[in-house]
């Protein structure tokens, strides 16, 4: 009997006590001596030139230390490549305060630094800048004919596969057809924590940047290249992150400004952005999608065409995989996928939770609903008839795919068989229209190179570390579980450290790959430590483990014991004490096993069943019930994984009914750039959400069998709700969010 099997258990967050008591330190909360404060001044124009900065007026204020603008920034790195971070798309990255050119509304144009927060804010409010305004274009609608196919995108982006079969002819000849356009506007990540950097300036000229980021190493390489710092002189730390959702994948301008000011003033500087400024550094792009589906008499897909056009900035070609998923989620031999960008005078869009797939699944999954109705089929039955047994894009089998089980188990949990097909055919006792809709999606299961180290002290306490991130995903907890189980220790005997460039390198926290990547590195590292401990155990007098190989023993209940005879055991703490060592250490890393993985397509899947109730007189929609069935490999922690999917469902409800950043094209400026007017769900909007994990074994993806859970749960949620609204009302809304006016 083992008391140290932790993987898969609903272990409570090990960082929970720190978070609920306020003890957890976020980037703006490091109390460094002699701190000064920087406040960012943002451009009110979308395009043009700064002609004058009246810095002298505010420099005269007591307490103001400096005004940084393009006029006085020192000479920094010259080439674009120095400003490119690990996840930068193609193009020329934005350089804060580089020159007098304004490329987007709310561009940072100055930083005012003062002895106190209040004086910095006040001085920034008084700083006068003069501009020469140019004509801007921020409306994607005007660029419908100017789309272009991007060349090289960012890491992980794949151009759509070439067409297969004869998609035009097949669509023309199909007995049942649909075609429609689907739209959603820009969305902003809006994590609760404001982006902030506390740049600590040390007496020896070194910098420690406590920065809100999803990748401390990514920020470190960005800073060292731009400011010519040695890695040892530029440490980047982020132990807790108040939400990221992709917003912290790229180094944001507050870290550049804080470090610039700290180096110039030789003082520690904190720069915190305002909620309004949180709308100035990347967003899910406004996207237009066009879908054409054709279906045969037997309900199989005859043709599928999916084209997407979305915005990017004038200076970078932001790319995400919007349409590729449509070539692999359903079986179809005649497929044409298209993907284009259009340049606008906005900041470069940025990966936002399930980038591309969240968007693509809205188009594809509403289109599938429309197609099902046109073909006279139940939307679930239609999907089952078009189940993809292999990935037709890659012509490879899936390493594992339990989507069929998701359909069946999800439908049973939801009670789908009680649904009547006709729109407006279901009502509740109070007379409200009821609608039931379905949606779903597919997401990549990937692994990135990661490293870790482990150290166990004579008292038996294990410390494991890797520079991963904790943005609410549960990294601290699952890594602790993996480490504790690998070495047979209780959870309390393990500490996991992360978010620090003094620790072994980990990839940026994104793509749902942290569990697979860092988790495998932690496992390997603890196994390497285990091997050392076994050797020490074998040196003990009368050791029952003499001659045993690593594979002959197991680490359980604080002991090393023979697999074949559990009574032949030594206590780990005794081993350490007998060894005379104060601590034993190991480090290791993990890479994906390319040879093993090459023959396979590796993905997670989900399906979502949603119920809405619509008050027709008021046009209000309430999402009363959602079941999300997810197949994502092994689930490391049922509690934290469930929370990830619950959060995704809240995001899906938001995308369907509330969330949109609205641009006033006259000014080229987002107008609802605050938490009161950028609507996200509150507690009263959320009702019965049910998460169902379908068991899925997969020894191809990685040794832990995990596929990641941070993004897949979002897919299809918004589409399922839009489809439920159609079922309830008979109104097909194709531009999200579905606000009251679209239903009246």
């Amino acid at each position: 009997m083992s008391t140290t099997n932790h993987i898969g258990k609903p272990t409570s967050r090990v960082d929970g006590p720190a978070k609920v008591t306020g003890a957890a330190r976020y980037s703006a909360e490091y109390n460094v001596p002699g701190l000064t404060y920087g406040w960012v001044v943002s451009s009110p124009i979308a395009k043009g030139k700064i002609t004058r900065v009246h810095a002298d007026e505010v420099l005269a204020l007591p307490g103001v230390l400096q005004v940084f603008s393009h006029e006085n920034v020192p000479s920094l790195a010259w080439f674009d490549r120095s400003y490119k971070d690990d996840v930068a798309p193609g193009g020329s990255p934005f350089r804060p305060l580089h020159d007098n050119e304004v490329k987007f509304s709310q561009q940072p144009v100055a930083l005012v630094v003062a002895e106190s927060l209040e004086v910095a804010r006040y001085a920034a409010s008084l700083l006068r800048l003069e501009y020469e305004e140019d004509k801007h274009e921020t409306d994607l609608e005007t660029k419908r004919d100017e789309g272009f196919e991007p060349g090289r995108g960012k890491t992980g982006w794949m151009p759509p596969p070439p067409p297969r079969g004869n998609p035009d002819k097949a669509w023309e000849e199909a007995p049942h057809r649909m075609e429609a356009e689907y739209v959603h506007g820009a969305q902003h990540h809006n994590p609760m924590e404001l982006f902030a950097t506390t740049a600590e300036y040390h007496a020896d000229g070194k910098i420690t940047a406590y920065d809100k980021t999803q990748g401390v190493y990514n920020v470190q390489q960005y800073l060292t290249k731009i400011f010519g710092l040695k890695k040892d002189d530029c440490r980047v730390v982020n132990e807790y992150m108040g939400g990221g959702f992709g917003a912290g994948l790229r180094p944001q301008y507050q870290v550049f400004l804080a470090v610039l000011a700290a180096l110039e003033l030789k003082r520690s500087v904190r720069v915190t952005l305002t909620r309004q400024q949180m709308f100035s550094f990347g967003h899910r792009p406004h996207t237009l999608q066009y879908l054409k589906l054709g279906t045969n008499a037997d309900g199989t897909l005859a043709a599928l065409q999916h084209h997407a056009l979305h915005e990017t900035s004038q200076f970078e070609d932001y790319t995400e995989n919007v349409v590729n998923w449509s070539g692999m989620l359903y079986q179809c031999d005649n497929v044409k996928l298209g993907y284009q960008l259009a340049k606008l005078d906005v900041y470069t869009p940025l990966d936002m939770r399930a980038p591309g797939a969240a968007t693509g699944s809205i188009g594809l999954e509403i289109a599938m609903d429309e197609m099902a109705y046109a073909a006279g089929l139940d939307p679930l039955e239609f999907r089952l008839r078009n189940y993809a047994e292999q990935d037709q894009n890659l012509k490879k089998p899936f390493s594992s795919k339990k989507l069929r089980d998701c359909y069946h188990q999800g439908a049973a949990r939801f009670g789908w068989e009680k649904r009547t097909q006709a729109p407006r055919s279901m009502r509740d006792d109070a007379g409200k229209l009821i609608g039931w809709g379905i949606g779903g999606g597919v997401w990549d299961a990937t692994q990135q190179k990661s490293a870790a180290k482990a150290s166990i002290t004579a008292d038996g306490h294990l410390t494991v570390s890797s520079a991963a991130g904790e943005n609410g995903t549960g990294t601290y907890t699952i890594m602790t579980q993996i480490a504790a189980e690998t070495l047979g220790l209780p959870i309390e005997a393990v500490t996991f450290k992360l978010g620090d460039t003094d620790l072994p390198e980990a990839p940026v926290q994104g793509g749902s790959w942290t569990a697979a990547s860092v988790g495998t590195a932690v496992k390997n590292t603890c196994e390497a430590l285990g091997e050392k401990l076994l050797k020490l155990a074998q040196k003990m007098e009368g050791s029952p483990l003499k001659g045993a190989k690593l594979e002959d023993v197991e680490f359980v209940n604080g002991q090393i014991r023979l697999r074949t005879d559990a009574s032949q055991a030594v206590v780990l703490r005794d081993v350490l004490q007998a060894s005379g060592e104060t601590k034993v250490e190991a480090d290791s890393s993990a890479m994906p096993d390319m040879l093993k993985q090459q023959p396979y397509s590796m993905h997670s899947h989900n399906v979502v069943f949603a119920e809405v109730k619509v008050d027709e007189e008021l046009g209000t929609v309430h999402v009363t019930r959602v079941v999300n069935a997810v197949a994502a490999g092994h689930i490391l922690n049922l509690k934290t994984a469930r929370s990830q999917v619950l959060g995704s469902m809240v995001w899906g409800i938001s995308a369907a009914l509330m969330e949109e950043t609205v641009m006033d094209h006259k000014f080229g400026r987002y107008m609802n750039h605050n938490y009161a007017e950028y609507h996200v769900p509150v507690n009263a909007d959320i009702h019965d959400l049910d998460v169902l994990f379908v068991e899925e074994e997969d020894d191809i993806v990685n040794p832990l069998g995990v596929k990641g859970i941070g993004e897949v749960g979002l897919l299809g949620v918004a589409a399922a709700i839009a489809n439920a609204v159609y079922h309830a009302t008979g109104k097909r809304v194709r531009d999200l969010p579905i606000m009251i006016d679209k239903l009246l």
Partner: protein, 173 residues
């Protein structure tokens, strides 16, 4: 033509000098503090920047998100919308005053048990708000809890956990 920035332009003849600081006496979590503060310093900034009580969070600085919720004589307020000088002689309770990692408040324990947070940034505000709601004696049904906790945004979407955590503590009362 020069474009006026959205923030207020300086008037001709120079700009007003910032207000000077003076002593402000605050009682926070039962402890007396005397701070040198200008009258424009918010209670939130006083806690975070002058007292290093960073458990109280800043999510919007405009009273829109609830992350900065603290209790004043047991009543919940948004500390970003209130000036520190307005709170002399009152009992201010922050998340640090409710419990510690060694001795958790029942709400704090319930939030951990129900996984009522992910990133943890809205959590201190949620817990202070829940304590305020319990003090108000209003949270009798699930719908009441949902409605009365709706001034506290959670972008991670942990609302179901929050509901269940608050409900558990309310029902034990």
């Amino acid at each position: 033509m020069p474009q006026q920035p959205t923030n207020a332009p300086a008037r001709a003849g120079g700009v007003a000098v910032p207000p000077s600081a003076g002593p402000v006496h605050l009682t926070i979590n039962g402890q007396q503090h005397t701070l040198q503060l200008a009258p424009w310093t918010t209670l939130l900034d006083a806690l975070r920047e002058y007292l290093n009580l960073t458990g109280t969070k800043k999510g919007c600085d405009h009273g829109q998100c609830g992350a900065c919720t603290v209790l004043i004589d047991g009543k919940r307020i948004n500390s970003c919308l209130s000036l520190a000088v307005m709170h002399e002689g009152e009992e201010i309770t922050t998340i640090e005053g409710l419990g510690t990692t060694e001795s958790l408040h029942p709400l704090q324990q319930a939030f951990i048990d129900h996984d009522a947070f992910q990133c943890g940034y809205c959590t201190p505000g949620q817990i202070c708000s829940a304590q305020g709601l319990i003090n108000e004696g209003k949270a009798r049904t699930e719908d009441e809890i949902r409605e009365l906790m709706s001034g506290n945004l959670c972008r991670c979407g942990a609302y179901i956990g929050i509901l269940n955590a608050v409900k558990e503590v309310v029902e034990k009362k």
